[in-house]
Each structure stands twice: as C-alpha cells, then as structure tokens.
C-alpha cells in the first residue's frame, strides 16, 4: 500500500471527462477490477447488476472507485469480491446521499479522502505509514455518516434536554405528592 495522499490524488484526478456517463457500463468496469484485484474465479460476477444506476453521484462514485482499484501502480493488494459488493451495494449509496449540492468527490479533497477511507475501511486496507488506530480515528473524523449520526444524536439529546426542562417547569407548577415529612 502507498500513503493515503496517493489515493486521494487518484480520486481527484479521475479522468471523468473521458467517460460517457450516459452509456458507461459499471458492470464492465467492475468486471475488469475483479479480474485484476480479486482472487475469485475469472468467471465470477457481482450477483446484482449496477448498470441500472441512474446517472448521478452514485454512478460517478462507482467510476471513481473502479478507476482507483484498477490502477496497476496503486499497490492495493487483492480484495474480497464479496466485501466489495457489500460495500458498493450498502455503504456507497448512503455515502453518496451525504454529498451536498455543489460538492463532488472530485473537487473536494476532504470528500475524496472520505471516499477512499470508507472503501479502505470496508476492505480492511491500511495505507502506508498509518496505524489501525490512526486510520480509524481519521476516518471517523471525516466520515459524513458518523458526523450525521452524531448530529442526529446531539439534536435528539438537545430536544430531550428541552423537554426535560419544560417538564421540570410544568411539574413544579403542578401538584406535588404527599409525604409525611419535609426536608
């Protein structure tokens, strides 16, 4: 494996202008990747086609990642086709939903890093000069899904706190419960 910056650069430099997003076959791209990067049989293909994905962030992400994994000089070792499929099917679509208007994987280095790290995290790949702890810590700090989760939790906690304070005030004005003594 190379240092993370190499892969980020690869993402940022993906030659998307050479790809006709309307007609490109994602299945064909992934077939090539699988041939070069998995230890599975040359005949095995993903159990579900990606060709029907409508044009958009998700399709672009597929192209970018296929390009990244296909790169012969990337020194990315063999990967598991099953894990990759799981990732593409379950994680990548959610990740793409976090892309804001005007943002893209290709012109924002932090988003590019997030994409690379999310893939490496799923495939259990560790860039050069990084410990597992550092990798995970850095990934969590830029992971939009994690950030959204924390935001959501914070929002919920704030709403709960607001509700508690409201109830405290309301209950103070309501009747108490009888006690034999006072404190």
């Amino acid at each position: 494996m190379l240092e993370i910056r190499y892969y980020i650069k690869q993402v940022l430099n993906t030659p998307l202008h050479t790809v006709d997003l309307e007609t490109v076959s994602l299945d064909a791209l992934w077939f090539d990747v699988l041939l070069s990067k998995t230890n599975t049989s040359k005949l095995s293909i993903f159990p579900q086609s990606f060709d029907k994905i409508p044009n958009g962030n998700l399709k672009i992400a597929h192209v970018i990642l296929a390009n990244l994994l296909y790169d012969k000089e990337s020194q990315i070792p063999e990967i598991s086709a099953n894990i990759l499929f799981e990732y593409l099917l379950n994680t990548l679509p959610i990740l793409c939903e976090t892309i804001q208007a005007g943002q893209s994987w290709k012109n924002d280095s932090e988003k590019a890093e997030e994409l690379v790290r999310s893939l490496f995290y799923a495939l259990n790949l560790l860039p050069k000069n990084e410990t597992k702890e550092y990798f995970v810590d850095r990934y969590r700090s830029i992971d939009s899904r994690e950030r959204n989760r924390i935001l959501e939790e914070t929002k919920k906690a704030q709403e709960r706190a607001k509700e508690i304070l409201r109830q405290l005030q309301q209950k103070e004005e309501e009747e108490a419960a009888s006690k034999y003594n006072r404190e």
């Binding site: 709960r160 009747e175 108490a176 034999y180 006072r182 404190e183």
Partner: protein, 473 residues
C-alpha cells in the same frame, strides 16, 4: 364516587377512605385547607413499594447495606442509561478506582439535570415537591411516585423502632405534620401504602385558622399517632401551648439540638425521633433509640462515604468530613458520589439497639435560625426564603438579622440585571418592600450583591443580633 376518588391524585382511594377523609376535611375545627393533593400511588407504584419494603426489611434483618463491592451493580446499570454517569465513569475501574470518580455537586444537579435523568425515562410521572428548606438555593429535585412512596415503609420502620405500631386503617390518622409559616400549603389526604390511614399537613401560624383554639381541637379530634415537622415548628407548637401527647415526634429538616430534644420530649411526653432526609436522596438516617446522638443509616440502597474537607479523599470511620452519597431509588435522580454539604462521621459495627446498619453522627447541621420582626414577633426564615426564591433574578442569598430593626440581605444575581442600573433599582426596591412587610415597616433592609455563587450549600439565614444577645438559643 366523588371526583376526589376518581382523579389521579390518589388512584387507589376507596369509598371508606374517602368517607373518613371527608370527615377530617369538614371538621368544624379544620384549618383553612388550601390545596388538594394525594399520594399519587397507583397499582404499579403500590407493587413497587411493596417489593422495596420486602427487600429493605430483609436487608435490615440480614444486615446487608450498600458497600463498595455491591454499589458496582448500580453504577453499571446507571452508566448504560444516564449520559452523566457514562461520562463520569468513563475509563474508571468501578471498584478499584471508585475514589477517583468525580463528585456530583449541588451545582451539577442545577446545571446538568438533563444529562443525569436517564435517557429512556418517561417524563410524565415526574413529581416536583416544593422545597421549603432553609439552606442555599433549592434544587428542583425531580422525583417519582415510586420513590416518594418508599418514604412510607422507611418512616414506619423508624417509628416502629421507638415502639410505635402504625395502624393501617382509614379510621386512623398516622401523622399530622406541623409547620409554622406565614404561607404554606395545608391539606389532608389518605395514604394508600398505609391502608388509607389519614395524614394532614397543617400550619400552626394563626393565619391558617378560623379560630386560634381550633388548632388544639383539631389535633385532639384526629389523634395522630405521630407528629412530624421540623424543630422550629415543634418549638413554636410548644411555645403556643399546643397540648397533645402523640406516640412520637418525628423531626426533620433542621438540626435538633440535644437541649431542644429533651425539652420537646418532656413537653410532649413521648420519644423524639430525629430523621435525616434530603429532597435529593429521600430518607437517609434516623436517630438510634439507645443513643440519640447517633443516627442509623436507614435504607439499604445508599452508599455513604465521609470525605475529607481538605484532601477530598474518603476518610476511615471515626473522622469527620462531608457526607457523600451514591445510589438511591429515585429513577429520575440516580446519585453518583453526591456531596450533601452536610458534615458528619460514620461508625460501623453492631449496636445495642439491634439495628446494625452504620451509624452517622451529624455535625453542625442545619441549625434553626430565628428572626424577630420589629414588633418582637418571631418570623420563620422559610417565609423569607419564599420571597427571595420566587424572584428569578436571585440565584443564591443569605439573610442576616444584624440588629433589632436591621437586616442585611446578601444576594448573587443574574448578571444582566446587575448591569442595568435602572432595572436593578426597581428590583431592589421591590425586594426591600416585600421584606419590610415581613420584618415590619420600620425595619432597615440593606442589600448587598457580592454574595458568591458557587453551587455550595450555604447558610441562608443568620442572626448575628441574637447570637450576640443570647448565645444559649
């Protein structure tokens, strides 16, 4: 069935209880009732308290009180539910490093209550009992009918230790609580956990009655087994010549000095049980029947530590420090090394009285403070507290009677008010006017605004004038 029976104030109220209670409410000697509150005990709460009672009595029989080994389970449970516990216990080995768990302060209860209340708690059952205490800024301790219900078996246990057998019958009145305040709530109810036995809270201040003589008549008519109240109320009752011989006096809230205890015992011809209880914790301890200077830890689910005032480290028994409490049964307010602000020492080992739970000796507790208005009449500090606490700009206060007609009122205030001179002048005049209605028109009230706000339990009332005049009080 009347509305009283049907409403949620006393869900288990029965026809017979209702009839008996009605007689008390309609007594020709009754005080001017001003609220209608119940025990809030429904079927579920009833079951909860019964289970608690069984566990508690078993623990007393087998001498099993919460200790460093057993408290771990409570901490584990709460850290999975309360953000506050989770954060405070992060990275701490519960048993080995217990002493390094940060303390919970009164300020934490004021500012972090939303994190302390466990995440999944349904808030609809929350109850806030009004605080009328005489120390510092009160804490709005949220409570649950379950935990308030547990007061009944705990109080009953403490009176049984003095030979009083609570009669669980709607025809009986278990307790009448005495207060002496210009203003307070006055009510009567039946307690479901005591088989419908009646309970009344009355204010012996003349303003609460149609005729002054009704007070004695009312108490004699309903013959409560015990009288509850604070030393201040009992002393006032004694001075007013209230004549009644209960089976026991149950004294809480303020320090009961040995001198007053023996005076009260002689006057009311009954034992006096000193009870240590906080709004935040519920009942903590009751005085030992053999040696009243010591109080036995009452419930089995509180872990007590004595913390050095200097090093803030736990002290071995026989040393005096701050009483710190972990545990409890209030589901809205689990306590994690809560600093009570009270000083005391703890002793372990068997006791001649037969209760072998640890003994606590309280030191310099909450001494009752007396004010005297310009006409020479006694003023209850709780009435002063009522005026100052209802004002939202006042965070903490201390009121000191400096002379026959002179008071100093020390305040810590909200910054916005302090920075606006015009608003502050208006607020200040309003406070002075209200206090003058209590202390007398000729009273001189000085206001100081440099009182520190540090979340600690402060002495809210002082009487420098009386201390100079009569140190024996």
């Amino acid at each position: 069935m009347s509305d009283r029976v049907k409403n949620k104030k006393s869900p288990l109220m029965q026809m017979e209880w209702e009839r008996e209670l009605q007689k008390m409410l309609e007594s020709p000697f009754a005080p001017k009732w001003n609220v209608n509150i119940g025990d809030r005990i429904g079927k579920e709460e009833y079951e909860f308290v019964q289970t608690f009672k069984e566990t508690f009595l078993h623990a007393k029989r087998t001498n099993q009180f919460e200790n460093l080994n057993t408290i771990e389970r409570f901490l584990d449970f709460q850290s999975s539910r309360s953000e506050f516990f989770k954060n405070r216990l992060k990275g701490i080995l519960l048993k080995e490093e217990f002493a390094s768990i940060p303390f919970t302060t009164r300020e934490d209860l004021q500012t972090h209550i939303t994190e302390i209340i466990p995440r999944e708690m349904d808030l609809s059952n929350m109850v806030i009992n009004p605080t009328s205490g005489t120390t510092g800024k009160p804490i709005l301790a949220p409570n649950h009918p379950n935990a308030i219900g547990c007061y009944v078996p705990l109080i009953e246990y403490s009176v049984e230790r003095f030979g009083v057998t609570p009669i669980h019958s709607p025809k009986s009145t278990f307790a009448i609580q005495l207060c002496y305040q210009e203003n307070t709530i006055v009510y009567a109810t039946s307690h479901s956990l005591a088989g419908g036995a009646k309970f009344a809270k009355i204010n012996i201040h003349p303003s609460s009655w149609r005729n002054h003589s009704d007070i004695n008549q009312f108490i004699s008519e309903w013959k409560p087994q015990i009288l509850t109240g604070d030393p201040y109320a009992f002393e006032s009752a004694m001075k007013m010549g209230i004549k009644y011989q209960p089976e026991a006096l149950h004294s809480t809230a303020l320090e009961l000095t040995p001198a007053l205890r023996s005076k009260l015992s002689e006057y009311f011809q009954c034992p006096v049980i000193n009870f240590y209880s906080l709004n935040e914790t519920g009942p903590i301890a009751y005085s030992c029947p053999v040696d009243p200077n010591w109080m036995h830890l009452l419930p089995h689910d509180l872990y007590i530590e004595i913390i050095s005032n200097d090093s803030q480290k736990p002290l071995p028994s026989g040393n005096v420090g701050e009483i710190v409490i972990t545990g409890g049964r209030n589901p809205y307010l689990p306590l994690l090394r809560y600093k009570t602000g009270d000083q005391g020492e703890i002793q372990y080992g068997p006791c001649l009285c037969g209760d072998h739970f640890p003994r606590i000796r309280l030191l310099s507790g909450r001494k009752p403070v007396y004010f005297q208005n310009t006409k020479g009449e006694t003023v209850n500090p709780i009435d002063v507290a009522r005026i100052l606490r209802k004002n939202p700009i006042i965070y903490q206060f201390q009121v000191d009677q400096l002379g026959e007609k002179e008071w100093e009122c020390r305040l810590s205030l909200e910054e916005n008010v302090m920075s606006n001179k015009a608003i502050w002048e208006m607020e200040k005049n309003a406070i002075i006017t209200e206090l003058q209605t209590l202390f007398g028109n000729e009273s001189l009230i000085k206001i100081k605004t440099d009182y520190p706000l540090d979340g600690k339990k402060q002495i809210a009332f002082l009487n420098s004038y009386f201390s100079k005049e009569d140190t024996s009080r």
